[in-house]
Symmetry: C2
Subunit: 700 residues, 2 copies
């Protein structure tokens, strides 16, 4: 793409006065460290820590972030391809150039690439048209030759179909029921669906398959300026390398056979492909048959079948490739065995200016700013690890393999995982978190300047715009936090600016788009880096971990109320009530103890071990929500509060096991279904009790 | 039984000189503590710790142990019965009388009691005889009325049968194959088996059921003086309350239905009962049919079927009862959140003088001796918990419910579990352990006087008698260590003197038997208490945990060699080799670090946190052997190195998943069987790798 460096970029420094002061203090600290190497200024001392946090904030610049993004997005860099290797080296040399200790973790994983595809529409008048299957004006290939990868669905089987077309709206279960009511069957047809309704790609394909369709085309509506874009994406179920479910796919590891039922069940059985909104319009405008249900508001008149016939071919290959995660480690001085992890993926479907390299640029800038702190004498109390994941787009493979490989150590030592994927998609601050981190998020957003409203903090603008502070939860499997939360039970955060950006997974997700639309001044990048890096500084340096479980208690109470409303008294929720009470009691106890210990400045053995013991409880409470048996039929998912429901139509975006049981109970209508549901509610209650016990830390 | 107190009992004090010196030093320490309450002499100081250990050893007396045992065994005290409550109060007031903090944990569990049984033998000459079903000269009842419980198999279904009898040796799979070779079928018959060949009771019943038998009678051969004894016992599969599999059966907890398949699968479907050796002789002497295979060496001429016909009836009831574990807690001063657990069960089939109250008496004496240390100023570094379990005889129910209830906290905080069940069965020292504790056992047995050889230590006599030091492993499910090792991955030890005592589970297991045969001078009790208590002192006070993983490495190498020999090259064991190498490397690294830190006397924050971090690694490495998916079909068993194989005929008493897969591969003889076996070997390799990673403590 080769864009010239955006010039001039305004240096975005918080406040010249504070910043000169900070620099002065840092010099003093640096001198002190140089001359008293063993008496390093411990950031556990709250005054010192405050100075380091201030100097972190004051070292922000948008110019550096922009430069990183530009370098990362020079070429498309799909996971497993040659240009992707260049980004590995870029990130690695950035880290090591800053003097940070770097590592890589390599895995051999089964990825999926396109070989050939074609699509033609044959109209009732006998004419036909070849539908373009790539963005215009760019070189496309299988992803390895330097061009943009041709649009495809990773892990789609190869196949072809020549059949009438049906429009199925989003392709949800409800949509198929609406079609049935119209007397329309998709059996033996090619279906076209538009992405939306939060329905995951894979589920749209599975629904079509269940209803007898031969192939699926998915298009994305949105900004008309980009309606020639194709949304690439993965259609495999679950996360991680399908050949190494539950363990790290390192060199020489056990690998399941491609024909193993455990592997096969993760792939769809009918081929699919993305379609541009423009091409979809061409086809859908020619449909006859029944009229579309008005509630679809689809801008489509009739749904078919036909009379238009599509001739569809897709050929792809699944292939073992090497993927690499890159790490920078800043070893903790007092507690090197406690980890604060900041993670972002590096691989992109195309240029990845938004997804994911706006996050990568922020991560690299945090590295730069942390390195400055180190030069001025800072050593974090706990270890900070910056993680650059590979192959996220193929199902969070890089992060998942690493989490699986390091599960025992993460389970006992990871304080928190902080994720940023698409850092800058547009305006508006969004954040998701496990609830014990809510408070910290609020505190930190009060310290960071809003990128879009002069004179305001992120917190103020966020509150003003929404009226309330809305922190999402992490039940989805749409970024690298999935393994950390849902498999390992590590408290996590996910941060981004803007949402639903129109060039998502298309060839238009470029530095140029970012400069023109996403974040022209790179202030949103800077805000994300500030929040992300500052949260990590607190988690790494605060002598008592800044976790607050009251928020978790409130959240659980709310979930219980929602569930109670949905069940309408058909099942008593007493076990949940009791468990939440126990959890509330534990939260209060922990908070009281935390307040006392925060004020305790002594570094005697007794006090230090007391603090460590309390921190262990704060850190490990989240693990209590894990159940070693996992969700039924999806054992990998161990978290009983946050995880995806099996059926996306579920009204519960928490308690995934309960959500599944509710669905099943609806379809079976037998006493057995109700018994199962009661059992799942018990399992959640016990998980909450475990978390409470873990937080209280008493076994007798 | 009301035996007069054995009199005179020789006071068993190690050495008058050392002991006066110790008492003097203790007085000094006591004074010091009294006057400088905040400058408590830390046992982390190795000199001080040594003095406390010496004074622990010198405070041993056999008189106290004997008195405790006598009090505990006054009445039979079957779990869930009234007299059992008295032992709860006895133990609890002993603990609290010593000034120790006590707790109880109550569970409602499904136990099983007999109501009625009868057995008559009908001979070919037309005569018949009623077989006595209880020990002579004692009052028998359902266990609750103060008498000895009539002989029965807990969880046997009620039922009756009138059929020809067949002798099946131990009733193993091999035995049934031998019968088949003789043309003898047990279908429709009552079988008699003699306990032995390490075959668990439940497995003998299952095998009979599989072969079509209607009922099973089990007798125990042994000392002819006690051949009127009946071996009571449990015939349920698995451990813990069958209604609360995987969670603690506290008041108000979820309980599965009695008809739930998960519950039903744990019970046998045909009735069974114990038989005395005398009664068995009466019946077996009248059998005709085929001659017994000579390799059975059974002292039985012919195996039947018949002509003798047995008329058998058993009626029992399963019943919810309250059980109680009792705890004494000695809170650690520096690290109260690290637990060293000493456990023994309290419930007995009859009087329980050997099983289990010889262990209880030792536990109570340890409590007494620890209380003395506390009075002289000792505070353990870590928390010590003395555990008195209930309902072990019904399937380790008390300990299992507690472990399940406290799994998250035990998982992150339990240093070790030290079990003693039948402390004194006769002469000869026996010990089982997870291998990282081998070294500590050796060191401690070198410090304790041998109870049977004047002037020798336990270690010396042990070595002399056996030629080698043989430490068993904990794959069995025959005492309360099962949940700790096999479900929670806590390093564990099991200690006892003597084995295979002839009055096992009979009404003759009384104080009188102990005084006459088991341990007339109570020196074996004293030796067990000394070893047990001293091991705990090291684990509680040593600043670096006395774990040594070299022994684990050697053990794993040995297992690999055995497996390799059995597989005879049919499967490459490279994954195991690599994993063991990784584990060996980690063991070396940890040991080097431990040696360095042991010498480090500083108590600076850095050093303390370094020690704590290393201790965490040493403690948590065992958890790495757990696999959250557990053994196939027996998910509760999470440990992949130690656990019972499904089929007791297996030659592997380690790697239980591999053992099961080998058995299945033998019977299927297909490629699938081999693939499964390879997969199980991989799982073990990954478990060893996890342990290695946990021990190394690095995640990058």
């Amino acid at each position: 793409m080769g864009q010239p460096l955006l010039n001039p970029i305004t240096l975005f420094i918080s406040n010249p006065c504070t910043s000169s002061l900070s620099i002065f203090i840092i010099c003093i600290l640096g001198f002190y460290t140089l001359h008293y190497p063993h008496a390093s200024p411990s950031p556990s001392n709250s005054q010192t820590a405050l100075i380091f946090r201030r100097s972190f904030l004051s070292s922000a610049t948008n110019a550096t972030v922009a430069a990183y993004l530009r370098a990362l997005t020079q070429h498309p860099h799909l996971a497993g391809t040659k240009p992707s290797l260049d980004t590995i080296h870029y990130v690695q040399s950035h880290f090591s150039g800053l003097g940070l200790q770097t590592h890589t973790a390599r895995y051999n994983a089964l990825l999926s690439y396109p070989l050939h595809s074609s699509l033609s529409a044959h109209f009732s008048n006998g004419s036909h048209v070849d539908i373009p299957l790539a963005e215009p004006g760019l070189s496309h290939d299988g992803g390895g030759g330097g061009g943009v990868v041709q649009p495809y669905h990773a892990y789609s089987p190869s196949g072809s179909a020549r059949a009438k077309v049906v429009f199925v709206n989003h392709g949800s279960g409800e949509d198929y029921r609406a079609l049935e009511a119209l007397g329309v069957s998709v059996s033996g047809c090619v279906v076209i669906a538009r992405r939306g309704g939060d329905l995951p790609r894979g589920e749209a394909i599975r629904n079509a398959e269940k209803n007898g369709a031969l192939a699926v085309l998915l298009y994305t509506e949105g900004d008309r300026r980009f309606n020639q874009g194709f949304e690439r994406g993965v259609v495999m179920n679950g996360v991680g390398d399908p050949l190494t479910p539950g363990w790290g796919g390192v060199d020489g590891a056990e690998r399941l056979d491609l024909e193993d039922p455990e592997v096969l069940k993760r792939f769809p059985n009918i081929p699919s492909m993305p379609l541009s909104a423009e091409a979809a319009g061409t086809i859908l405008g020619t449909l006859g048959g029944a009229g579309a249900p008005p509630e679809w508001r689809a801008g489509v008149g009739r749904v078919g079948p036909g009379p238009t016939v599509l001739n569809f071919t897709y050929q792809g290959e699944k292939k073992m490739v090497t993927i690499q995660n890159v790490f920078a480690v800043i070893k903790g001085l007092e507690e090197p065995d406690r980890y604060v992890l900041l993670g972002n993926h590096r691989d992109a479907w195309t240029y990845g200016a938004v997804d994911p390299n706006s996050g990568t640029a922020a991560l690299l800038d945090i590295a730069r700013r942390y390195a400055l702190l180190i030069h001025s004498g800072w050593n974090p109390r706990r270890t900070i690890i910056l993680c650059s994941w590979d192959a996220e787009e193929f199902g969070m493979i890089g992060s998942t393999e690493w989490v699986e490989q390091n599960l025992v150590n993460l389970g006992s030592k990871a304080v928190a995982y902080l994720n940023v994927d698409c850092a800058a998609q547009g305006p508006g601050f969004f954040v998701g978190a496990t609830p014990q981190l809510d408070n910290l998020i609020l505190e930190v957003t009060k310290k960071v300047k809003d990128p879009d409203l002069e004179g305001s903090t992120v917190y103020e603008n966020w509150l003003t715009k929404n009226g309330i502070i809305d922190i999402q939860r992490l039940s989805g499997v749409d970024s690298d936090f999935a393994s950390f939360v849902q498999h390992a039970g590590v408290p996590s955060i996910d941060i981004y600016y803007g949402r639903d950006f129109p060039v998502y997974h298309t060839a238009f997700d470029s530095y140029d788009w970012m400069r023109k639309f996403g974040d022209p001044l790179f202030h949103r990048h800077v805000a994300v880096a500030g929040i992300w890096g500052l949260i990590a500084l607190h988690l790494a340096d605060d002598s008592i971990l800044p976790f607050n479980y009251f928020s978790y208690v409130d959240q659980l109470k709310h979930y219980k109320d929602v569930l109670s409303h949905l069940l309408d008294g058909s099942i008593l929720l007493d076990p949940l009530t009791t468990a939440i009470e126990e959890f509330a009691y534990a939260a209060k106890e922990a908070e009281d103890e935390a307040q006392k210990l925060r004020e305790e400045e002594s570094t005697s053995e007794f006090v230090m071990l007391k603090k460590r013991a309390l921190n262990d409880r704060l850190m490990l409470a989240e693990r209590g929500f894990l159940d070693s048996d996992g969700l039924e039929g999806r054992q990998w998912f161990k978290h009983l509060v946050y995880g995806p429901p099996s059926d996306h139509g579920s009204k519960l975006f928490f308690f995934p096991g309960v959500a599944d049981a509710m669905n099943q109970a609806k379809s079976t209508k037998t006493g057995q279904g109700q018994a199962k549901l009661r059992h799942e509610i018990w399992r959640v209650a016990r998980a909450i009790q475990r978390a409470a016990r873990s937080l209280r830390g008493e076994i007798y």
